[in-house]
Subunit: 188 residues, 2 copies
């Protein structure tokens, strides 16, 4: 998606050869117009695919998840990283974050994933792919089906895209960064 | 806002006389059409007020924050509850949560709050008011100004609204719940 690539080139910052900071428009400060346009782009990419729910993960998936949900006119569910004290019945699994080098728990209330659901997973970043695989697990615990994964920015050099494809998930990325060597952002 | 009240009456659940669960449409599963309409309503309520930025707090403020930011055509910034490892320069303060009976830290990168900013604070729930006061502190650390607070659901029996007004903040709530006695939801 050219608009997103322009934002990344104009506003993204690299730290070393692994980290791309996009916190001025994507995951700390958010440009709402860009966000809603990304939602529209996911709608186009998944045209013809039966989808009745968007699933993402707090916190930075929520904005792009809402944009996709609004474009597709389906509910958004976001997995929580802590079990709320008022929630009694939920699906849960563990996800290992390589970025933070720690394991965390994600959960979704059982009311919000039903066996008949056709779920599109949305997230802002794809690196190693573990978060999306964790979300897929929750969907499958409910007997529901993952119809694909829509990602804003995929780091093409970190293996997550292939891992998801090997697990049978169709991945649509709005921008794939293939390298960040010497502070230079190279798209696929 | 009648539409939100209808959602609360039809889909909200009470636990005891203090807790109102709206997780089927507001803060776990999200109805994107309702959300965007609430954004439009905030635009109406703050008509004529100079606002160039929305500030909210992760995670459940993000969706409604984005809706408001889109309606007002200004950027959204969400305060984080953990300091990201890639962020070096930020404003931070502590907030005590009565719901969870614990203190937590909130922070915003210094790049995203500027002295000239006119900030509208948005959140999904207003109970005791501490989260909004914490956000106000961050805004004022940057030398910027809080122009008001837009809240989806205010629990009118928990004192937060008065606390914010006593601190000079104009509060606009889309629904004010004045009591939850005997499982009955009573609006102001």
């Amino acid at each position: 998606m050219e608009l997103l690539k322009d934002y990344i080139l104009n506003n993204g910052k690299t730290i070393g050869s692994k980290i791309l900071k996009v916190d001025s428009f994507l995951n700390h400060q958010i440009d709402p117009v860009l966000m809603m346009k990304m939602g529209e782009e996911f709608k186009k990419r998944f045209e013809g695919v039966e989808i009745n729910k968007i699933l993402t993960i707090e916190a930075s998936g929520i904005a792009i998840g809402l944009a996709a949900a609004y474009a597709l006119n389906v509910p958004l569910v976001f997995a929580k990283k802590k079990v709320p004290s008022t929630m009694s019945d939920f699906y849960t699994t563990k996800v290992f974050s390589f970025t933070k080098n720690q394991e965390y728990t994600i959960c979704v209330g059982k009311d919000f994933l039903q066996p008949e659901d056709k779920v599109l997973i949305i997230d802002d970043f794809l690196a190693m792919g573990n978060a999306v695989l964790g979300l897929k697990e929750l969907v499958e615990m409910a007997g529901a089906k993952v119809m694909g994964a829509g990602i804003a920015v995929t780091k093409g050099f970190q293996g997550g895209e292939k891992l998801l494809q090997d697990n049978g998930i169709r991945v649509e990325s709005l921008a794939v960064v293939d390298s960040l060597e010497n502070g230079e952002i190279n798209f696929r």
